[in-house]
Protein backbone atom coordinates (compact mmCIF):
# COMPACT_ATOMS: atom_id res chain seq x y z
CA UNK A 1 0.00 0.00 0.00
CA UNK A 2 1.45 3.41 -0.88
CA UNK A 3 1.55 6.20 1.68
CA UNK A 4 -1.29 8.27 0.21
CA UNK A 5 -3.62 5.25 0.20
CA UNK A 6 -2.58 4.52 3.78
CA UNK A 7 -3.59 8.04 4.87
CA UNK A 8 -6.88 7.71 2.97
CA UNK A 9 -7.56 4.34 4.61
CA UNK A 10 -6.96 5.75 8.09
CA UNK A 11 -9.24 8.71 7.47
CA UNK A 12 -12.04 6.57 6.03
CA UNK A 13 -11.93 3.78 8.58
CA UNK A 14 -10.91 5.22 11.95
CA UNK A 15 -14.52 5.94 12.93
CA UNK A 16 -15.31 2.19 12.91
CA UNK A 17 -12.74 1.69 15.68
CA UNK A 18 -13.85 4.50 17.99
CA UNK A 19 -16.50 4.18 20.73
CA UNK A 20 -20.05 5.43 20.25
CA UNK A 21 -19.41 8.82 21.84
CA UNK A 22 -17.33 9.72 18.76
CA UNK A 23 -20.21 9.28 16.29
CA UNK A 24 -20.51 12.41 14.14
CA UNK A 25 -16.86 13.46 14.70
CA UNK A 26 -15.05 15.44 12.03
CA UNK A 27 -11.91 13.56 10.89
CA UNK A 28 -9.23 15.68 9.23
CA UNK A 29 -5.70 15.24 7.96
CA UNK A 30 -3.19 18.07 7.89
CA UNK A 31 0.56 18.64 7.74
CA UNK A 32 2.45 20.02 10.72
CA UNK A 33 6.05 21.29 10.71
CA UNK A 34 8.01 19.42 13.37
CA UNK A 35 11.62 19.07 14.50
CA UNK A 36 14.28 19.96 11.89
CA UNK A 37 11.64 21.57 9.66
CA UNK A 38 10.15 18.19 8.71
CA UNK A 39 6.45 18.08 7.81
CA UNK A 40 4.50 15.25 9.44
CA UNK A 41 0.97 14.09 8.66
CA UNK A 42 -1.39 14.73 11.52
CA UNK A 43 -4.82 13.28 12.23
CA UNK A 44 -7.44 15.10 14.29
CA UNK A 45 -10.79 13.65 15.30
CA UNK A 46 -13.02 16.47 16.51
CA UNK A 47 -16.06 15.36 18.49
CA UNK A 48 -19.37 17.17 17.86
CA UNK A 49 -19.71 20.28 20.02
CA UNK A 50 -15.94 20.48 20.66
CA UNK A 51 -13.53 23.10 19.35
CA UNK A 52 -10.19 21.35 19.82
CA UNK A 53 -8.84 17.80 19.53
CA UNK A 54 -5.46 16.16 20.12
CA UNK A 55 -3.16 15.79 17.12
CA UNK A 56 -1.92 12.28 16.33
CA UNK A 57 1.01 11.82 13.93
CA UNK A 58 0.68 9.04 11.36
CA UNK A 59 4.12 8.71 9.75
CA UNK A 60 5.44 6.14 12.24
CA UNK A 61 2.33 4.00 11.81
CA UNK A 62 3.09 3.69 8.10
CA UNK A 63 6.57 2.41 8.95
CA UNK A 64 4.98 -0.15 11.25
CA UNK A 65 2.68 -1.23 8.40
CA UNK A 66 5.70 -1.81 6.17
CA UNK A 67 7.33 -3.80 8.95
CA UNK A 68 4.40 -6.19 8.95
CA UNK A 69 1.90 -4.75 11.40
CA UNK A 70 -1.74 -5.32 10.41
CA UNK A 71 -3.84 -2.32 9.37
CA UNK A 72 -6.50 -3.51 11.81
CA UNK A 73 -4.00 -3.25 14.72
CA UNK A 74 -2.83 0.20 13.58
CA UNK A 75 -6.39 1.55 13.49
CA UNK A 76 -7.03 0.00 16.91
CA UNK A 77 -3.94 1.67 18.35
CA UNK A 78 -4.83 5.08 16.90
CA UNK A 79 -8.29 4.71 18.41
CA UNK A 80 -6.76 3.86 21.84
CA UNK A 81 -4.52 6.94 21.68
CA UNK A 82 -7.43 9.19 20.75
CA UNK A 83 -9.59 7.81 23.57
CA UNK A 84 -6.82 8.01 26.18
CA UNK A 85 -6.11 11.66 25.34
CA UNK A 86 -9.74 12.68 24.82
CA UNK A 87 -9.66 15.22 27.63
CA UNK A 88 -6.20 16.57 26.81
CA UNK A 89 -7.23 19.68 24.81
CA UNK A 90 -9.71 20.79 27.49
CA UNK A 91 -7.10 20.03 30.14
CA UNK A 92 -4.59 22.20 28.23
CA UNK A 93 -7.10 25.00 28.05
CA UNK A 94 -7.76 24.79 31.80
CA UNK A 95 -4.04 24.59 32.45
CA UNK A 96 -3.15 27.82 30.67
CA UNK A 97 -5.84 29.65 32.62
CA UNK A 98 -4.63 28.40 35.99
CA UNK A 99 -1.26 29.95 36.65
CA UNK A 100 -0.38 27.99 39.80
CA UNK A 101 -1.04 24.54 38.28
CA UNK A 102 0.44 25.50 34.93
CA UNK A 103 3.81 26.43 36.41
CA UNK A 104 4.41 22.84 37.51
CA UNK A 105 3.80 21.50 34.01
CA UNK A 106 6.38 23.48 32.04
CA UNK A 107 9.15 21.26 30.69
CA UNK A 108 12.02 21.62 28.22
CA UNK A 109 13.26 19.64 25.25
CA UNK A 110 16.49 19.80 23.32
CA UNK A 111 16.76 20.07 19.53
CA UNK A 112 19.50 21.02 17.05
CA UNK A 113 19.84 24.80 16.73
CA UNK A 114 20.79 25.16 13.07
CA UNK A 115 18.07 22.91 11.63
CA UNK A 116 15.34 24.66 13.65
CA UNK A 117 16.52 28.27 13.33
CA UNK A 118 13.49 29.31 11.29
CA UNK A 119 10.92 28.10 13.82
CA UNK A 120 12.75 29.86 16.66
CA UNK A 121 11.40 33.18 15.37
CA UNK A 122 8.07 32.23 16.96
CA UNK A 123 9.27 30.07 19.82
CA UNK A 124 11.10 31.09 23.02
CA UNK A 125 14.32 29.09 23.25
CA UNK A 126 17.69 28.93 25.01
CA UNK A 127 20.81 28.21 22.95
CA UNK A 128 23.25 25.61 24.31
CA UNK A 129 26.33 24.91 22.14
CA UNK A 130 24.85 23.95 18.76
CA UNK A 131 21.57 22.90 20.41
CA UNK A 132 18.58 24.76 21.81
CA UNK A 133 16.04 24.17 24.56
CA UNK A 134 12.37 24.67 23.70
CA UNK A 135 9.54 24.69 26.20
CA UNK A 136 6.25 22.80 26.42
CA UNK A 137 3.26 22.37 28.69
CA UNK A 138 2.67 18.72 29.59
CA UNK A 139 -1.02 17.95 29.61
CA UNK A 140 -1.07 14.18 30.04
CA UNK A 141 1.45 11.37 30.35
CA UNK A 142 0.11 7.86 29.86
CA UNK A 143 0.77 4.40 28.41
CA UNK A 144 -0.32 5.64 24.99
CA UNK A 145 2.07 8.58 24.79
CA UNK A 146 2.68 12.07 26.06
CA UNK A 147 0.22 14.89 25.27
CA UNK A 148 1.74 18.37 25.34
CA UNK A 149 1.50 21.86 23.84
CA UNK A 150 4.42 23.85 22.51
CA UNK A 151 4.97 27.19 24.25
CA UNK A 152 5.23 29.72 21.44
CA UNK A 153 5.61 33.49 21.82
CA UNK A 154 1.82 33.97 21.95
CA UNK A 155 1.35 31.38 24.70
CA UNK A 156 4.33 32.75 26.66
CA UNK A 157 2.74 36.20 26.50
CA UNK A 158 -0.63 34.78 27.52
CA UNK A 159 1.04 33.12 30.52
CA UNK A 160 2.84 36.40 31.41
CA UNK A 161 6.19 34.61 31.43
CA UNK A 162 9.61 35.37 29.91
CA UNK A 163 12.24 32.97 28.51
CA UNK A 164 14.35 33.14 31.68
CA UNK A 165 11.44 32.17 33.95
CA UNK A 166 10.44 29.41 31.51
CA UNK A 167 13.97 28.03 31.74
CA UNK A 168 14.02 28.11 35.56
CA UNK A 169 10.62 26.38 35.84
CA UNK A 170 11.46 23.79 33.18
CA UNK A 171 14.76 22.86 34.83
CA UNK A 172 12.88 22.24 38.06
CA UNK A 173 9.90 20.34 36.59
CA UNK A 174 11.35 18.16 33.82
CA UNK A 175 13.43 15.83 36.05
CA UNK A 176 10.37 15.30 38.27
CA UNK A 177 7.89 14.66 35.44
CA UNK A 178 10.29 12.71 33.21
CA UNK A 179 12.95 11.11 35.46
CA UNK A 180 16.28 10.32 33.78
CA UNK A 181 17.21 6.70 33.06
CA UNK A 182 20.89 5.82 32.65
CA UNK A 183 21.75 2.24 31.71
CA UNK A 184 24.35 0.30 29.78
CA UNK A 185 23.46 -0.04 26.11
CA UNK A 186 23.38 -3.81 26.43
CA UNK A 187 20.81 -3.65 29.23
CA UNK A 188 18.63 -1.16 27.31
CA UNK A 189 18.70 -3.23 24.13
CA UNK A 190 18.11 -6.48 25.96
CA UNK A 191 15.05 -5.07 27.76
CA UNK A 192 13.61 -3.50 24.59
CA UNK A 193 14.32 -6.41 22.23
CA UNK A 194 13.34 -9.32 24.40
CA UNK A 195 15.50 -12.38 25.09
CA UNK A 196 15.00 -14.14 21.74
CA UNK A 197 16.01 -11.21 19.54
CA UNK A 198 18.86 -10.35 21.91
CA UNK A 199 20.27 -13.89 21.69
CA UNK A 200 20.01 -13.71 17.91
CA UNK A 201 21.93 -10.44 17.79
CA UNK A 202 24.55 -11.73 20.23
CA UNK A 203 25.30 -14.51 17.76
CA UNK A 204 26.56 -11.98 15.23
CA UNK A 205 28.61 -9.80 17.55
CA UNK A 206 30.24 -10.05 20.93
CA UNK A 207 28.25 -7.49 22.86
CA UNK A 208 30.75 -7.47 25.71
CA UNK A 209 33.58 -6.44 23.38
CA UNK A 210 34.70 -2.93 22.46
CA UNK A 211 34.12 0.36 24.27
CA UNK A 212 31.39 0.28 26.87
CA UNK A 213 28.41 2.36 25.75
CA UNK A 214 25.65 3.76 27.94
CA UNK A 215 22.25 5.22 27.10
CA UNK A 216 20.71 8.24 28.78
CA UNK A 217 17.01 8.97 28.24
CA UNK A 218 13.90 9.53 30.34
CA UNK A 219 11.28 7.10 31.62
CA UNK A 220 8.94 7.65 28.64
CA UNK A 221 11.72 7.42 25.99
CA UNK A 222 10.17 10.48 24.30
CA UNK A 223 12.51 13.47 23.89
CA UNK A 224 14.83 11.97 26.50
CA UNK A 225 18.02 13.67 25.22
CA UNK A 226 16.98 16.62 27.41
CA UNK A 227 17.81 14.58 30.51
CA UNK A 228 21.52 15.23 29.82
CA UNK A 229 20.90 18.82 30.92
CA UNK A 230 19.04 18.05 34.14
CA UNK A 231 20.78 19.87 37.01
CA UNK A 232 23.71 17.75 38.23
CA UNK A 233 23.03 14.90 35.78
CA UNK A 234 26.42 15.02 34.03
CA UNK A 235 28.24 14.97 37.37
CA UNK A 236 26.22 11.94 38.48
CA UNK A 237 27.31 10.12 35.30
CA UNK A 238 30.95 11.18 35.67
CA UNK A 239 30.95 9.90 39.24
CA UNK A 240 29.26 6.64 38.28
CA UNK A 241 31.69 5.99 35.43
CA UNK A 242 34.64 7.45 37.31
CA UNK A 243 35.66 9.02 34.02
CA UNK A 244 35.24 12.02 31.73
CA UNK A 245 32.95 11.11 28.85
CA UNK A 246 31.91 11.75 25.29
CA UNK A 247 28.25 12.31 24.38
CA UNK A 248 26.92 11.02 21.05
CA UNK A 249 23.65 12.67 20.00
CA UNK A 250 21.88 9.45 19.04
CA UNK A 251 18.53 11.27 18.59
CA UNK A 252 16.25 13.77 20.31
CA UNK A 253 14.99 10.79 22.34
CA UNK A 254 18.29 9.61 23.85
CA UNK A 255 22.05 10.22 23.90
CA UNK A 256 24.85 7.66 24.07
CA UNK A 257 27.56 8.12 26.68
CA UNK A 258 31.09 6.83 25.95
CA UNK A 259 33.63 6.95 28.80
CA UNK A 260 36.98 8.46 27.77
CA UNK A 261 39.48 5.62 27.65
CA UNK A 262 42.79 4.99 25.92
CA UNK A 263 40.89 3.13 23.20
CA UNK A 264 39.48 6.45 21.99
CA UNK A 265 42.30 8.60 20.76
CA UNK A 266 40.21 11.25 18.99
CA UNK A 267 36.60 12.38 18.78
CA UNK A 268 36.82 12.16 14.98
CA UNK A 269 36.00 8.44 14.73
CA UNK A 270 33.00 8.98 17.02
CA UNK A 271 31.82 11.93 14.93
CA UNK A 272 32.08 9.91 11.71
CA UNK A 273 29.99 7.20 13.37
CA UNK A 274 27.30 9.71 14.50
CA UNK A 275 27.04 11.19 11.00
CA UNK A 276 26.80 7.77 9.37
CA UNK A 277 24.08 6.59 11.75
CA UNK A 278 22.21 9.92 11.40
CA UNK A 279 22.10 9.55 7.64
CA UNK A 280 21.10 5.90 7.53
CA UNK A 281 19.46 4.86 10.80
CA UNK A 282 17.65 7.90 12.26
CA UNK A 283 14.39 9.42 11.05
CA UNK A 284 15.16 12.98 9.87
CA UNK A 285 12.71 14.50 12.37
CA UNK A 286 14.46 12.68 15.22
CA UNK A 287 18.03 13.79 14.45
CA UNK A 288 19.56 15.90 17.22
CA UNK A 289 22.90 17.09 15.76
CA UNK A 290 25.93 15.64 13.95
CA UNK A 291 28.53 16.68 16.52
CA UNK A 292 30.17 14.88 19.43
CA UNK A 293 30.38 16.51 22.88
CA UNK A 294 32.74 16.08 25.80
CA UNK A 295 32.29 16.49 29.55
CA UNK A 296 35.29 16.76 31.88
CA UNK A 297 33.52 17.97 35.00
CA UNK A 298 33.37 21.63 34.02
CA UNK A 299 30.84 22.07 31.25
CA UNK A 300 29.61 20.24 28.18
CA UNK A 301 31.63 21.38 25.16
CA UNK A 302 31.96 20.32 21.54
CA UNK A 303 34.58 17.54 21.51
CA UNK A 304 36.41 19.24 18.63
CA UNK A 305 36.78 22.45 20.70
CA UNK A 306 38.06 20.43 23.65
CA UNK A 307 40.67 18.63 21.54
CA UNK A 308 41.73 21.86 19.82
CA UNK A 309 42.28 23.42 23.24
CA UNK A 310 44.35 20.43 24.37
CA UNK A 311 46.43 20.58 21.14
CA UNK A 312 46.95 24.32 21.52
CA UNK A 313 48.02 23.90 25.15
CA UNK A 314 50.41 21.09 24.15
CA UNK A 315 51.94 23.12 21.30
CA UNK A 316 52.25 26.12 23.56
CA UNK A 317 54.03 24.14 26.25
CA UNK A 318 56.26 22.40 23.65
CA UNK A 319 57.40 25.72 22.20
CA UNK A 320 57.94 27.07 25.70
CA UNK A 321 60.22 24.08 26.50
CA UNK A 322 62.04 24.54 23.18
CA UNK A 323 62.60 28.22 23.94
CA UNK A 324 63.85 27.39 27.42
CA UNK A 325 66.38 24.83 26.09
CA UNK A 326 67.57 27.24 23.40
CA UNK A 327 68.01 30.07 25.92
CA UNK A 328 69.86 27.79 28.29
CA UNK A 329 72.29 26.54 25.66
CA UNK A 330 72.85 29.96 24.09
CA UNK A 331 73.65 31.42 27.50
CA UNK A 332 76.22 28.63 28.03
CA UNK A 333 77.59 29.39 24.56
CA UNK A 334 77.60 25.73 23.67
CA UNK A 335 77.38 24.51 20.11
CA UNK A 336 74.08 22.66 20.04
CA UNK A 337 74.81 21.07 16.66
CA UNK A 338 75.44 17.40 17.47
CA UNK A 339 77.83 17.31 14.53
CA UNK A 340 76.77 13.97 13.23
CA UNK A 341 78.16 13.07 9.87
CA UNK A 342 76.27 10.86 7.49
Amino acid sequence: MNYQNFLKDIKENIMYYLPEEFVGSNVTLSQVTKNNGLKLDALTILKPGHEIAPTIYLNNFYKELNEGKEMDDILGEISDIRVEHDQAPEAAENLINNLSTMKDKIIFRVVGYEANKETFKNIPHTVKNDMAFTYRLVVQKGDDGVASSVINNDLMKHLSLDPETLSILAMENTPKLFPAEFMSMNDVMRSMMGEEEWEEMSMFMDMEQGPKLYVLSNDSKVNGAASLFYPGQMDVIKKQLNSDFYVLPSSVHEVIIVPKTEEITSYKDLETMVREVNSTGVDPEEVLTGNVYFYDGNELVLAKDYENQIDAAFNHSSSAVERMIKDRFSSLDVDTDPGYEM
Binding site: Y57, P89, V146, A147, M185, V188, M205, V222, H253, V277
Partner: protein, 36 residues
Protein backbone atom coordinates in the same frame (compact mmCIF):
# COMPACT_ATOMS: atom_id res chain seq x y z
CA UNK B 1 -6.72 30.97 23.62
CA UNK B 2 -6.89 27.41 22.20
CA UNK B 3 -3.56 25.60 22.49
CA UNK B 4 -2.68 22.82 20.06
CA UNK B 5 -2.17 19.52 21.84
CA UNK B 6 0.07 16.90 20.24
CA UNK B 7 0.32 13.27 21.27
CA UNK B 8 3.76 11.65 20.87
CA UNK B 9 4.58 8.04 21.52
CA UNK B 10 7.94 6.31 21.78
CA UNK B 11 8.84 4.02 18.90
CA UNK B 12 10.56 1.05 20.50
CA UNK B 13 11.60 -0.53 17.21
CA UNK B 14 13.20 2.68 15.92
CA UNK B 15 15.07 3.10 19.22
CA UNK B 16 16.42 -0.44 19.08
CA UNK B 17 17.50 0.07 15.46
CA UNK B 18 19.39 3.28 16.32
CA UNK B 19 21.18 1.66 19.25
CA UNK B 20 21.93 -1.47 17.23
CA UNK B 21 23.51 0.70 14.52
CA UNK B 22 25.95 2.12 17.11
CA UNK B 23 26.57 -1.31 18.63
CA UNK B 24 27.35 -2.79 15.20
CA UNK B 25 29.82 -0.03 14.38
CA UNK B 26 31.71 -0.19 17.66
CA UNK B 27 31.79 -3.97 17.84
CA UNK B 28 32.80 -4.27 14.19
CA UNK B 29 35.68 -1.89 14.70
CA UNK B 30 36.85 -3.76 17.76
CA UNK B 31 36.70 -7.13 16.00
CA UNK B 32 38.95 -5.75 13.24
CA UNK B 33 41.40 -4.49 15.82
CA UNK B 34 41.45 -7.88 17.50
CA UNK B 35 41.99 -9.58 14.18
CA UNK B 36 45.17 -7.61 13.53
Amino acid sequence: MKPTVEVEKSNKKATVERLAAYAKKTKKKDTKENDK
